[in-house]
Subunit: 119 residues, 6 copies
């Protein structure tokens, strides 16, 4: 799937370049970002859905894409994703709608064509 | 006009898919969003200009595009649009400028080529 | 508990005044806002935690206070609340910290003195 | 009226101190800010309502207070103010609600007690 | 100085409570936040001014207060602070003004009464 | 370099069209925006880095691109740029990361191919 693979390739390539620069604070932030979604008192799927809602109200398309992929990998259903979208829409308002359109477009691509590369 | 038609096509196609999912809250939000701009104590053109200013300070390109189209259809002049842009620029600061550039670019396309499809 | 009661009293009094004005769109939005957190494919507690994370990254103290109360009423533990805080902190950055301080201050008040009025 | 007078006094005192510092760019920005709401192709009342909607979606209480005062002075009715609030609510989402409550509270104070000082 | 001491006391007390909860990710974020302003290729004073500008455009009063204190401790002059304010004002727009007023009010208090406690 | 030249061309063309419209307030804002980064008590390079941090936490790609170019022209090193990125990341959170990726991608293009046109 073109869009998914392109997203993943750019993400991995730039993360590599960013981390190679050797700025310790940025490295630690990247590690911290990943750990925030590990299962704890709250399960990993719910955490991904929380990250998804946060990304939607802050209107970050790449973050939305990432959490849609992760939430699905952790078993989130279409109905759960739309309930998360609903919360984001009510909290964040109509400016969330263009991001919702792109999220649903991406979700359909993801359902129709399995990604050829791991995230 | 390519950009206008592409904008409209994607908007209509994705709105259809979103509403077909059957999430009642999202459906109601979409209805509410549309009603907010109906004429009342404030006329429809002024409401579209308010939506435009709100979209600019929140820096939502698709929302800006939508309200530029609507404001023009309701009779807003170029001078009125630029006065709305001015308010958005002062309230929202220089980060609004890239969105202003794209808004003016879109406005010129709209003036030079009448849209071939209804919104 | 002073702060909780004051928060609830002002909230209820102003909601009443806002709804009495008779603006149909605002009324519908308030109804929609409440429905978004009803249990569905996602349970009510998880939805409150999602609302909490969204409120924190958008830095809305009153919204945080509201969702902390609701999440606790639906059984969220202190550990779950802090994991939600953690996600909000990583997604939203250090500007979330002042809101986190006030949230924890409020949480302690809530634990130490049961509210005397229903929300 | 206490709250209005306190708002005006602090505003005037600090603006004076800021401008006395002699930073030319800040001075010019303050002048620019004031000019944006002068009548032009769009009338002054509509511009104040636009400033109000922008302030609400950006959730700036002092800015909302200022534009409520100005809009009323330029003849905006309660119904017009609530239609502007409605647009802000739909565009900006439920995080606008706490600011809406404070705006309506302030509006009632303004209606019940005429300000004793000019803005 | 009352406001400074109250700010510092609440900040220290709540940070202590937050860190005592034992959420490792939050602890690490707090450490990371502090390290970001240590002198490196960029000196500590310039970093505090960068943190100040970022806090102003994101409109976080507590963050502004903190960076004003830190910038002054690292030798930033009043003129440098106002040039940083100017950049924040132009980038972030007129919604920054209420925060600028409070920042200048706080700065005057800081100049007139030396803090009695360390931050 | 394609991306740089395209960025510059569109920026210059649209700025010209915006200023030709004759809205005095917008003209003045553009002048003010440019002046904010002139050397004063703070040197021009530090001001560009401040503008860069502000642009990153507000997540404005075009603004980031502009300040990366300007900071480099004023002598900012790669290490200084990454320390500014670090501050932006900690203040603004993980939603800054996609913008950081694009900034580093752009920085590499800038280092590998000197721009053929002046900004």
């Amino acid at each position: 799937m073109g869009r998914f693979d392109e997203f993943t390739r750019f993400r991995q390539e730039m993360n590599k370049k960013i981390l190679e620069q050797g700025n310790l604070g940025i490295k630690r932030f990247f590690a911290l970002d990943e750990q925030a979604y590990h299962a704890g008192a709250i399960d990993a799927r719910s955490k991904e859905l929380m990250g998804l809602v946060a990304s939607m109200v802050l209107r970050c398309d790449d973050c939305i894409t990432y959490h849609v992929i992760q939430a699905r990998e952790k078993g989130a259903t279409r109905q759960e994703l739309f309930e998360a979208f609903h919360i984001a829409l009510v909290v964040g308002g109509s400016i969330v709608i263009p991001h919702l359109r792109r999220a649903v477009d991406f979700l359909e691509q993801l359902e129709n064509a399995p990604p050829s590369t791991a995230l």
